[in-house]
Amino acid sequence: MFNIQTQLFDGQDVRLGPIDHEKDPEVESKWTHDSDFMRMYDTDPARPMSAAMVKKQYEKLEKQIEENKEMYYFTIRARSDDRLLGKAMIERIEWSNGNGLIRIGIGSPEDHRKGYGSQGMQMLLRFAFAELNLFRVSAEVPEYNEPAVALLKKFGFVEEVRRRQALERDGRRWDLLVFGLLKDDWQNQAEG
């Protein structure tokens, strides 16, 4: 299937990359001003962030990663011009149990429905299972985020938990779903 020579971080149109402290804050700041993206991607109240705040957040993130090794964070970038498209991460890693929580998002609506999320997910899962050697990964997603649910199911994630009415937005309550993917399932799918 894959071997040592197959690049972990190169996809067809996108690649996984590190944070670019100079260029990325401005782009990510723009995403945070899109309340649709924020409400899809995060369960905390949607808030626009200035580029300066994003930059600070990146610094805090990298410090956290260095200190406790429970997270791996990647930017998703266009292969053609290195443009920032989104982000992908594995966090809350419990090494003794072999788990992690994945999060992935493509920021701008113009970049949706182009397969970037799928390519990012493909690389993220391979990193989780074939490089970090995790046993399973989870994802938390609000039930109203249909594109995310579809993406997870495409990669073999199974809906495992339904936290009833855990969220409230636009005047109604929504369930928060937890999906899980075991290494064996991923391996079978990847080979199939």
Binding site: S29, T32, H33, D34, S35, D36, R39, M40, D44, P45, A46, R47, P48, M49, S50, A52, M53, K56, Q57, K60, Y144, E168, R169, D170, G171
Partner: protein
Amino acid sequence: MKNIFRGELVRITAEEPEARAKVEVRWQGDSELHRLAGAEPAMMESEKKLKEWFEKQNENGFKPQRYPFSVRTLEDDKHIGFFGLWVDLIHGEAWVGIGIGEREYWGKGYGTDMMKLCLQYAFTELNVHRVSLGVHEYNPRALRSYEKAGFQLEGRTRRDILREGVRTDSLWMGILRDEWLQMQTGDQQ
């Protein structure tokens, strides 16, 4: 999902220390504006000090109790004002502070649009049960605007403000979640 950051005339953006300090310096120089907005003695601070203050607010990241926003016009992105929500999380109550610093934008519907966005955020993203505010009795324009937005007068603290040798009352207003929700369905019909 509704776009909760855009209204019809304005949009809400992050409160950026540098930009905010710049306009705040000008707005502080307008003493009438200050006296309409607040109870503290009018004073003027340096842009540097203001920038530091705004930076300090954001120092430790977002807090679930405080939601400050800057407001810009949709037409030409002009930074005309602000609003902030302070939330009592346990009881689900939010206090709002709102203002338009640029005088040319008074009385033209911008304030109404801002308050609409503010209440929509409070009731459909923060899900509070009520929003409260205080207003000076010598600020009838704001009082009318808040009434139009659905706030009800709940009380007054008598003669608690002394300015220019005259004692005036502070008025306290509130709008409940159910009342606001009712107003929305009314609009849709």
